[in-house]
Symmetry: C2
Subunit: 758 residues, 2 copies
């Protein structure tokens, strides 16, 4: 297995002192920043003429791009939604004595690039070595976590040798393109520029799909030592440039601050954008760069207070989990219920910034524990709002009920591979499963009784029609599906999918009588339907091999040439080495599939069942989906396979920092980042919750000194601390609670700490 | 099942007296003409502003278009080859007293459109009814069957009422586009126009795939009553227009003849094209339109003499088979070994004019019997020439040996659906199977001993690596394939594919010792390889259900919800009504799959096996591939299911004339057209040949009076005549031959006819 580590190990920082052109994109991905409202890759302010992926993204601003396929198949969606690369506001072009500053070309030394995870601040510095001149440049950049529309950039130039005439050119650029577009189309049309107000305004192209167009306005203003500055402004179509020059002698320095406001028609109507942006800018500029940064940092500090996971004794592990938490929170903190979590967040173009089932399966369990319940509820509500789209999707397949999409912005499916779009339908139970997680964790059953019931019944109706009765087997079967392991396509009776469908029907039947009268009337489930659903629950075929004691990923799995991943180490990742058909025929598993089902329902399987399945499937799993290792880690921990659990933790925690899957150049694996938290909290600390009972079963990796984390649980804040001698559990806030720790009952009281010997 | 018949039934003509705008495209497909060198849809000379598919195609002139897919998969080909819509030479714009003649807009009567199948001539007439004027227009058009580069068009205008000033505008147009292109690209770049020589020259766009660019030159000349005419010539980029006017009083008429020469860089270098076209034009114009037509007709007559199938008593059946033979011969007559048979011939854009396995499976058995052996040998040689491409394709999949492509112009795969490109690999035995057919039918084993052995061993090596040993089954299995029934994808152990692979290995092992010494040295098969191949032949898993007595299309077929096609009549064709996943889960079969295997190897199965399989699969088959009904018809005939055989014959014979699959608008199903011949000769007449023995087992459909056909067989010309009283078999030419007729030995002698009572 490959790995590539280009940043130094440090508990709170992601720093490098090296600049390698070959790794520029990787570096950009890892130094991406965001504030849940917008985000940007770690591009350079002064521009860069070498290989780079320029990327700025605005949450919830998207474009429906015409579906392009090799051969059209009935049912394909009309468009693929993608977050277009947004107008760029990063630009501060710089020339020194006439030479353009471009790290692909000029001579420089003392390079440093550093993401301060505690502050959410990106900084960079280097010494430019020109002819008879040396200038140190220092950049700082952050996206304001309170005033979300604001981006702040500061550049400081200090002349170390010689005399420098420095020209700055601060730009706004709406002529950006997507790298992954077909035929280099532009997604933005210019609406106008305003030299005086220093704004540009652009709008997404019209589309024939009744998807609203988005208008975006960008405004910039410059300051020097906190005081407003006016450069020479020129505009071109969808572009604005503001130039100013300074002359500095040796020892002198100059600081330029660029303040940017970005407003979108998601919040502000097109016609009001210029005025509102002006108000925002005024407000922003009532504080200096430093004051704004202090405010920003204080908010990050508060976030960290309830969410930090501390690991003592393993700096790489420590850095990994903090990086993940930071990036997740920079992507989504539940403050806007129209949004969701794109697999690459604001760090790349791939997956188009859309919503996947990742959110419910991997994000929800973590966010439940470290943010307010309202955050998860917003995620549930997001899907409820999109139910009309889900009904549309099912209808496209000729089936009743609701089918949540694989990829979407508005509920309507927009992915266009038949084996995924039409077949990777396990999502249609994974997504509703978050309702059960929410209800069980928070104890709040108001959602499942009301809106949740719309979701459960809609999806139940889909599932009941998607199975068919096999006379040959005397069972209900489910043909033509793709499980979470996308390295098998169009298989029959994928154990995970059928297990999830069965769960959905069972849970719906159990919860239906408890729903509100209004909800019951709304969904109107007939007796006949209930009988059918119960019959499917009782008679659905779930393939297993009794001799091996395992569930079968699908009917023909054992007919494959079964051999461990260890035999093909030199050919990994297989998705970059093998043709697709070879991957499909192989026994190698992209991501947890049977084990994902066991993970979802730990109480349903015996330890022996878990062990046999783990021992069978883990050696076959290549974990080429970033969503995979964490699930295996949690199971390994439960089964006492500590070394395996730790190995898989490391892989998930440092997936991007160490570029394990050799694809971090495309962006970070945002939705997988919760995996490291799950591996520690559900894995090492063994947190479970069912039937209103919170439980832990803890261990600590051998090479760690201690670890600790906090969770909120039903209005309480609980801290868990584990070292090799003892486990300490403190109820920092909230009512008394009896929990189970290593199968022992422990009563937690506010302000007290319970100590248990290891 | 739908059908739509817009042409009248007639034994030698395809005529309509109606013009319906809704059916314009269908009409154009059915009135397409070709001469193996070029072809064109039945567009109107004067232009048509309504819905139409303008189409002119030049054999072997193609363009590699960048692969466009929704989601890239390893191994996808870089380009999709397609025959671009060629520069159009049909145009003769006409205005009458200033009104543009456009049947979408003007008033007209007495419309007639007729394809004379015996002559290969398309004619059309109508009376234009303008203000105070009526003019009868009569068009004739043919593509010269001897001087292939020549197209001849004649239009005659006769004023029936009033006075008419008629303006003609004869055009050459290189600005054509493909309807199926991405983003309306043009595939042609203009090289220049020449007013004096009346030429335009264009070239296919450059491409990054090392595929040669093609240059095409078109030249026109006008004549009136055989005498050269010169109009006013103007040119625009890639366009030429030649205008002239006549004034006619009531009763007067005028004939304009347009002669066109089209040369391509396949035969004539770019720089020589203008001169050569001039020579060709001179040669063409040494004869009048009528003399050229007579020459053309004489050649068609000769073709018909040895290939016509006469059916007495069923004009629709008669018309169907003649239409099919005509269209096949207009597409390919084996006179250029660089060419092959595209599924739509020269009649539409779909399938891009490329070569599919259709040629070997459906065209070869017919062409063997009605053309010279050299025609089939040219088709075999075509694949041998493309072996380097086949090795390339296998390598792309990480496998040894040769894999013939699903779709190609040059041997390199260019299709881009993974379930087809990577998985519909049965082609890799179907294509070599033509070697066996050729050898067995002609008795000429020189090919299989030499070049054929390269093909056999190359493909054998692929197959030997494509199977794997299943410990679980204790058999060789073949996973992840798509059979001829493309309504199942990525299945395991498709009986047909495994049967074909087994045959290929077995046949190669049998033939290898008989190969020339040079061939043996070239292919260099080791003992170890032979042992492995034999082991696979002995132990490959071929799924069957012993209780039902059937072979299983694939492992899980019986797990489906089996129900007959008759239950879903209202939802056909399912490929236009159902989403893809629903089709895949269904038991409905697009085209013969298990039955295709039984058809290929009739001697390998008992009558009971054939019967059980036919009775099981036929009711499940929707025949939504045009390649399907003929195979079922042949088997039905063999099994004595006369009504079924006739029903399926009618479907195959009149597939396009009656638009059974509701897709003839896209073009004709050229490669399926041999099916009607196969249904009669192999089906009704039961022709078989194995072990140097020619056999017949004949019957005649109840409503036919008689049918007859001729075949060539090992240097002999044999005529078969069947009516309800007797069967007459005549050896028209060649050495004595003993054949089996209805299991009786019959000795044929030259010039004699053997009569057998029915």
């Amino acid at each position: 297995m490959m790995m590539k580590r280009i940043f130094e190990v440090d508990p709170w920082k992601v720093t490098t002192h090296e600049f390698s052109k070959e790794d520029k994109r990787l570096q950009e991905s890892i130094t991406a920043i965001g504030n849940d409202y917008m985000g940007m890759r770690g591009n350079f302010e002064e521009g860069y003429s070498g290989d780079t992926l320029q990327g700025t993204y605005l949450a919830g601003v998207w474009f429906p791009d015409k579906t392009v396929v090799g051969w059209w198949k009935n049912g394909y969606p009309k468009y693929f939604g993608k977050t277009p690369n947004a107008p760029s506001f990063i630009g501060i072009g710089i020339t020194v004595n006439g030479e353009k500053l471009d790290l692909a070309k000029v001579k420089f030394s003392d390079f440093e690039l550093s993401l301060d995870m505690h502050q959410g601040l990106l900084s960079r510095s280097f010494i430019y070595e020109g002819k008879d001149v040396k200038v140190k440049f220092e950049f700082e950049r952050f996206l304001h976590i309170i005033q979300k529309e604001a981006a702040l950039i500061k550049v400081k130039a200090t002349v170390l040798e010689g005399h420098a005439k420095i020209d700055f050119d601060s730009t706004l650029d709406g002529t950006v393109v997507n790298e992954d577009s077909n035929y280099d189309e532009r997604f933005w049309i210019p609406l106008g520029e305003d030299k005086d107000r220093r704004t540009i305004q652009v709008k997404t192209k019209p589309n024939p799909y009744e998807v609203p167009q988005f208008t975006v306005l960008l405004k910039q203003a410059l300051r020097h030592n906190g005081k407003a500055l006016q450069g020479e402004v020129t505009t071109d179509e969808a572009k604005l440039s503001e130039k100013l020059s300074v002359e500095l002698d040796q020892g002198q320095s100059y600081e330029l601050e660029k303040d940017v406001i970005v407003v979108t028609s998601r919040d502000i109507e097109e016609k009001d954008q210029a005025d509102v942006a002006e108000d925002f800018m005024k407000k922003l500029q009532t504080k200096s760069f430093e004051e704004n940064l202090a405010e920003h940092t204080a908010t990050w500090k508060k976030r960290w207070e309830t969410s930090d996971v501390e690991i003592d004794g393993d700096a790489a592990a420590q850095q990994g989990i903090r990086f993940n938490i930071l990036q997740l929170f920079m992507t989504y903190y539940g403050e806007d219920e129209r949004l969701n979590v794109g697999p690459k967040g604001f760090t790349g173009e791939k997956y188009g910034g859309a919503t996947y089932w990742d959110t419910e399966a991997f994000i929800v369990p973590m966010y439940l524990a470290i943010t307010k319940p309202s955050v998860t509820k917003a995620l549930l509500q997001y899907r409820h709002n999109q139910l009309p789209g889900a009904y549309h999707n099912a209808k496209e397949q000729g089936l009743p009920g609701a089918l949540f999409p694989m990829v979407t912005f508005n509920g309507i499916e927009c992915h266009n591979e038949w084996e995924i779009t039409f077949e990777e339908i396990h999502r249609n139970a994974d997504i509703p499963h978050a309702i059960a997680m929410y209800t069980e964790y928070t104890g709040d059953d108001s959602y499942v009784k009301n809106e949740g019931m719309d979701v459960l019944v809609g999806t139940a109706r889909f599932w009941a029609a998607r199975v068919h009765w096999s006379k040959w087997r005397n069972k209900y079967v489910m043909h033509g599906v793709t499980g979470p392991n996308e390295y098998e396509n169009n298989v029959n009776n994928n154990w995970f999918t059928s297990t999830m469908a069965r769960w959905l029907l069972k849970y719906t039947l159990e919860r239906l009588p408890l729903a509100t009268k209004e909800a019951q009337e709304r969904v109107h489930v007939t007796e006949e339907e209930k009988e059918k659903w119960q019959d499917i629950v009782d008679k659905i075929y779930l393939p297993e091999d009794k001799d091996l004691g395992i569930f079968l990923q699908q009917d023909d799995f054992l007919d494959k040439e079964i051999r461990p991943v260890s035999e093909i180490e030199d050919q990994r990742p297989i998705n970059q080495h093998w043709s697709w058909d070879k991957i499909l025929r192989s026994p190698f598993i992209k991501q947890a599939d049977v084990l994902q089902g066991i993970y979802f329902f730990p109480e349903n399987y015996t330890k022996e069942q878990k062990e046999k399945n783990f021992d069978f499937y883990e050696p076959l799993t290549v974990h080429e989906s970033s969503l995979s290792p964490s699930i295996h880690s949690v199971l390994a921990a439960e089964l006492g396979k500590k070394d395996k659990a730790v190995e898989l933790y490391e892989r998930t925690a440092r997936l991007d920092l160490d570029n394990y899957n050799n694809d971090t150049v495309d962006g970070l694996h945002i939705t997988s980042m919760s995996g490291s938290w799950l591996a520690i909290v559900q894995g090492f600390a063994g947190m479970r919750y069912d039937h209103d009972q919170l439980k832990f079963k803890l261990f600590i990796p051998d090479n760690w000194n201690h670890y600790s984390f906090k969770i909120n649980y039903r209005g309480r804040l609980i801290e868990v601390y584990v070292d090799h001698q003892e486990t300490k559990i403190s109820l920092l806030k909230g009512e008394d609670l009896e929990i189970l720790v290593n199968d022992q009952k422990v009563m937690l009281k506010e302000g007290e700490t319970e100590c248990l010997k290891a």
